[in-house]
């Protein structure tokens, strides 16, 4: 059986793969991360990787729940 957390990681990694290569994502004193570095963080289940999964899943849930439409309209 596939673990739900592994499915979430796969979804997040797929989303990160389409991020523009010139972009860096900054988070406090943990530093800034390129697309490839973030993917490694997610794969390795680091604190940053776990937080990125939390952020992306919260975003996808907001989209699913229609929060995106509330913001746009």
């Amino acid at each position: 059986m596939t673990d739900m957390s592994e499915i979430k990681k796969e979804i997040v990694i797929a989303r990160l793969r389409v991020m523009a290569s010139n972009r860096r994502i900054a988070v406090g004193d943990r530093g800034s991360f390129s697309r490839d570095q973030l993917i490694k963080e997610v794969e390795a289940d680091t604190d940053i990787g776990k937080m990125m999964v939390e952020i992306q899943m919260a975003f996808l849930k907001a989209v699913k729940d229609g929060k995106m439409y509330a913001a746009i309209t």
């Binding site: 989303r15 990160l16 389409v18 991020m19 523009a20 010139n22 972009r23 860096r24 994502i25 900054a26 988070v27 406090g28 004193d29 943990r30 530093g31 800034s32 390129s34 937080m51 952020i55 992306q56 919260a58 975003f59 907001a62 929060k67 995106m68 913001a71 746009i72």
Partner: protein
Amino acid sequence: MPKALLVTRPNHDEITNYLSAWCKKSVDFARSRGMTVIDLDGNKATRAQFESYNSSVAPSFIIFNGHGSSEAVTGHNNLPIVSTDSNVGQLKSRIIYSISCSSAAGLGRGSIAAGAISYIGYLKPFWFIYDKNSATRPLQDVEAKVFFEHSELFINLLIKGHTINDAYGRAKKNLEANYAKALSSDGGESDAAALLLWDLTHFDAQGDLNASI
């Protein structure tokens, strides 16, 4: 007597350089409005300098830029400037805005308990995107702009005399608008949207929100 603003703006790494550059615009704006501004930039952003000026000038408004945790905000070289377990009493009778990770969670609540008027900040880490090709020119970085506009708006509205409640509400609206723009963009902006939603969700104001500086 003119109102006073005390700002810490360390810039010892790429992230603090962005925070510092964006807040400098508000420092200049405060000066143009006749405020007394103590600008502890670069290596002047230390606990000793902060405490010295905080005691002697008694600013009505304090802005911390820098790294942080739930219990502290830091300055030059990530050394603590104020923390819940040491000098939170420094924030008594002040309005504080902290552009740092997570400090609204512990330090914010601790400051209100210690007599601060209001504490505005972020309950979780503050995330932003920047363009590595623009890292030496933070104000020209359009990737980063959407993450800092609300902050500049919030500060400038307070400087103009708006209540915290009004400034905070309008800053949140600005973040929402940037979130909506990122969502509706034709480009690959959903990574920006996800982080904007996160920052919006964790942007927090505590204490007396009817106060003004």
